[in-house]
Symmetry: C2
Subunit: 637 residues, 2 copies
């Protein structure tokens, strides 16, 4: 065959290829255009929403949903679907439009955007079954992606990839950089972030405007591979997504230069259009501007790989688990040790249990789990927000994350904890070193508002064990309770109160001391139970009997038992706790029994504490055995 | 003069200079040695503490306190002292030792470390008058430094410099990067950070171990000038601190390679010595190792510049301030607008008031202040933790920062808010868009746990205005209350309830509807007051009278008035609020009146809400006028 023929053949071959790719590009541009139209139309119909931010990301989302991502549009539960996290949650209309165009939901459904009976909410929540998690509090999506990627690479060993679409404004959130650091540390090459740099925040330009390089420099410094592109150039976008797929050992961040409101001249790159839909008339003009001949390109969304080895994939825990502790009554063990021992044992019976800790594992005793199950322990270093976000990602993939640090430092992640509840996550938070009883380290290290924080979350479970037996048992109980739970542990060693076969159900309590002529019921939990028991002995010598109840389940609290006990003790309860006065156990008790005409005397920490010996501090802040004795003598009059 | 003479003179000149500098270096090394000795000795005596982290930073602190920093060791209140923030608060013994060696406190005082009656606490708090702020929750110091530097450069126009000593482990905290970004954005060349890279966290090595370059790359990418040094080489340290002084238009980060436990072979660069003092015997060996001939170098700490123009320097507000709103009864205005208008007016009468907002100023209406007083508004972008930390720094320099964002996003900074209270800061937090009444944006944007969070903090003030008049008035009230205060504002427009001359004192309430035969008292605040007033009208038509109380002061709450009102209405109170069930107004009321035998029926949001119209949601979650009517009919039987 002569050269001319070869050239001719080559020419046609190339022509076909380029025609195909031209067709693909046209098709994706057409999809992007449809996504823009849906976003404009549905927000105008809803009368609220954020159309302009949808338009800046439409081309990127089109490329992801109709070319790059591998997923089954008819099965959101396929464990090997590529994951998509819309960190810039206010672009929700774009997300819904993409799934509609992909055939996952009917197009008509889009008209229900933001209606009270629609799962298409203003910001995504798992009520929309394609949203694994809730987003909308900015700067949390990348952490969630880290958790999903950790699961794919290290636990389930699936080859799904995780794509996180972020806004440029939200990259000011520190949690983004916590996530960036950990993603690089764990070499998450199955994680791809895309920053939609439209240069505008809610109230003004972002800190770096359109300086793509400054974003690249920062992510590179944090160990990422980065690619800067024009976020409206489909060839650029596809090339970058391909490059990300072929990048090994590090995550990739695509930094895309875009325009807010792209494609609609009225709002394109204009101020004052962050959270504002177009009016009916403005919409008509916009739709006219977006009107163009449709492409006939036939899309075939690539399915996830069928054959994969699924590890740890069953959801929930099959049989009822009960741990058998191994202590002697009176033996001195800290509840934080009980937690660590219990968690390590739980790891033996459930492959779903994973542990995350923020460089406090030798204090919280998460290290016991790490030593027993190193492959299911993730060191998150001193970055509590990302730790919680990653746990949300792991939970969304069916794991049961135990997230531990000092109780005081869980406050660092309150926004993430709040969002984890909205994400319907199955996470167990563990706060150690609660209260003034930690002693000399002082107030910065004392968790004294943690119960208030965790109780505030609807449907949360809050337990506060008083000894290592109950601590171990409660680890298994909360693991088998689907949802947000909190275990509060203490630093000091305290005597074992319960036999190893004692059971502790969520919502229960234990009557530790009781007689027929008790003058008052003293309710407590954790460290102060031991003060209450000392007070019992002192008062007994004086011939005064008190009932002592261990309210280890702070939420839900055992209303029936408390009411009954109070009715047998002059309708009087003294509640003592190593927590601030507002929002703790005292308020849980008050809410349970006040309506039954029971008088509750709250003993709690009323001021900002200082450094000192534990016993000195508990005396100073009015929660010691001596203070309980005084209070009892007062109320019994 | 011939060349030989010139050479001879030059030779002697150089010799003198180098002799001097040798002497200085020896002197500073000797001081560092003394600081190490104090740190070892005092922690062993206290029986707890973190000696090893003191030893890694001793040389740096010696250079700062005895050569670089300009301050008056006898006057911590000198407004032009260079500021030192010990972000790695667990190195407190080193801080106390430095001030003792500087003559600020007696050496003997060091022996009281961690004792209950000593201001030398386990982690620094302002009880120690040289500590402007409390530290110990890691990753917060740089933000505080940003606030102090903003004040020096833009407000007081003083030439003091701000030095922040950080640990390497804490640089994993996202708030560090929020601070880094804002410091560069505001060109804070009066801010110098030093990272003490000893490579060890609490439970294991840090993420980057001794990779000095990775720290430099990251801070450079965030816009800082960086210098990598050997943190135990005094010449290196002095040169770096000089270079920082001569760096214009950007902050400088010195990244110092150090060894934890430096100078004591038993613990130097050894695992397991993070929070552990040496035993008596170990101490003896350590002190022997540190024993060396003292230097006779005479230190003269350079005083701060005397002549400076002090602007906005008077602390507190001189005269009683009352703002005069300008609304008509019944006019529809959102309380968030009332806040913005009030804050702008407050800025006219007090030069101390500053405003910080996280790219929500067009929603919180902090933009009203920004427009009126652009020189006292600081845009903090979407980074709430740093915003609060910067406010702590500004407060420590005598300003009255108003920190505003969505109520939901204040949870992002709970740890910083908690620490701001321990820092004895004078900050006013403002959370807008509270509750389900924001409507379609959905749960991620709804502040529903904010009252619980702010009430938990001892001595905090929480106000929740129901109309724009009370909003404006309360802005002035909280500004004149020293300490932590929280203003909760709502998104929807609501009718003006009060005349412009009405006064609203902290701790008060307003009886809005009252008659001699009221069946029950309905207590509310904010948006739901308007539901209660609708309920009042509906019930009145039925001939049922209820009392309606606006409990705008949630904490402290007006116990006397509530008790009195309840006693006149069958000892029954219905409390309705747009907040989660636990920790809100309902619990404030319950705590105030339950002990007086008053029955409280709490109406609040009991589940995780969804998107919908405000009125639909308030109906769905049981806090609408209709629901109040139902509840009234129930309780009155």
């Amino acid at each position: 065959m002569n050269e001319v023929n070869i050239l001719r053949i080559t020419y046609y071959a190339l022509r076909i290829i380029s025609m195909n790719s031209d067709k693909l590009i046209e098709g994706l541009q057409d999809k992007a255009n449809k996504l823009r139209i849906h976003s404009i139309r549905t927000t105008t119909k809803a009368g609220s929403g954020h159309p302009s931010t949808c338009l800046s990301a439409a081309d990127i989302v089109s490329a992801l949903f109709f070319h790059t991502m591998r997923y089954d549009p008819h099965d959101p539960s396929n464990p090997n679907n590529d994951r998509f996290v819309l960190s810039k949650g206010h672009a929700a209309p774009l997300l819904y439009a993409a799934y509609a165009e992909a055939g996952a939901i009917p197009i008509e459904k889009l008209d229900t955007l933001r209606e009270i009976d629609s799962e298409l909410e203003g910001h995504p929540t798992p009520r929309f079954k394609w949203a694994d998690v809730a987003t909308g509090s900015l700067g949390q999506g990348l952490s969630i992606g880290v958790g999903m990627a950790l699961n794919g690479k290290y636990l389930d060993k699936l080859d799904y990839r995780v794509y996180v679409l972020m806004g440029d404004g939200e990259s000011a959130e520190g949690s983004v950089w916590e996530a960036a650091a950990l993603a690089a540390y764990y070499k998450l090459d199955n994680l791809v972030g895309i920053v939609d740099v439209n240069g505008m925040g809610q109230s003004q330009h972002t800190m770096y405007k359109f300086d793509i390089e400054s974003y690249q420099k920062r992510f590179e410094a944090f160990g990422w591979h980065t690619i800067g592109i024009d976020g409206h150039n489909m060839n650029n976008i596809l090339a970058a997504l391909d490059e990300a797929k072929s990048t090994a050992d590090k995550p990739t961040m695509i930094v895309a230069r875009t325009l807010k409101g792209k494609g609609v001249s009225l709002i394109e790159d204009k101020d004052g259009w962050h959270g504002k839909p177009l009016s009916e008339n403005e919409m008509k003009l916009a739709l006219k501007e977006l009107d163009r001949p449709a492409s006939d390109y036939k899309f075939k969304i690539e399915s996830p790989q069928k054959e994969f080895e699924m590890r740890n994939s069953e959801f929930g825990i099959k049989r009822k688990i009960s741990l058998i502790p191994n202590y002697k009554i009176g033996e001195e063990v800290a509840t934080r040790n009980g937690f660590g021992t219990g968690l390590a044992k739980l790891g033996d019976v459930s492959a779903l249990v994973v542990s995350l800790d923020g460089d406090t594992k030798n204090s919280t005793y998460a290290q016991d789990f790490m030593k027993a199950h190193p492959d299911r322990y993730f060191e998150c270093f001193i970055a509590e927000q990302n730790m919680v976000g990653a746990a949300v990602g792991l939970s969304s993939r069916g794991k049961i994350p135990f997230v531990s640090t000092f109780a005081a430092f869980l406050t660092r992640a309150f926004d993430h904890i709040r969002m984890s509840a909205i994400s319907d996550a199955n996470i167990k938070y563990v706060g150690s070193h609660c209260g003034t009883s930690i002693g000399q380290d002082g107030p910065s290290q004392m968790g004294l508002e943690d119960i208030a924080m965790m109780r505030a979350i609807p449907n949360s479970v809050v337990v506060y064990p008083s000894d290592a037996v109950s601590a171990e048992k409660l680890v298994a109980e909360v693991a088998q309770h689907k949802g947000i739970a909190y275990i509060r542990t203490s630093r000091p060693k305290t005597p074992i109160l319960y036999p190893n076969d004692e059971e502790f159900k969520i919502g229960g309590c234990k009557v530790l001391r009781s007689s027929d002529n008790d003058k008052v019921t003293v309710v407590s939990a954790g460290i102060t139970i031991h003060e209450a028991l000392k007070a019992y002995e002192i008062l007994k010598k004086e011939g005064i009997h008190i009932r002592v109840i261990d309210a280890y389940s702070v939420k839900p609290i055992d209303e029936v038992s408390l009411k009954k006990s109070a009715s047998e003790t002059n309708n009087t309860i003294i509640c003592v706790e190593d927590h601030y006065y507002d929002g703790g156990l005292g308020d849980a008790v008050l809410n349970a029994v006040a309506k039954h005409g029971v008088f509750v005397h709250k003993m709690a920490v009323k001021e900002l504490p200082r450094s000192g010996k534990p016993e000195e501090l508990m005396e100073l802040y009015g929660i010691s055995a001596g203070c309980i004795v005084k209070q009892v003598l007062e109320v019994k009059g």
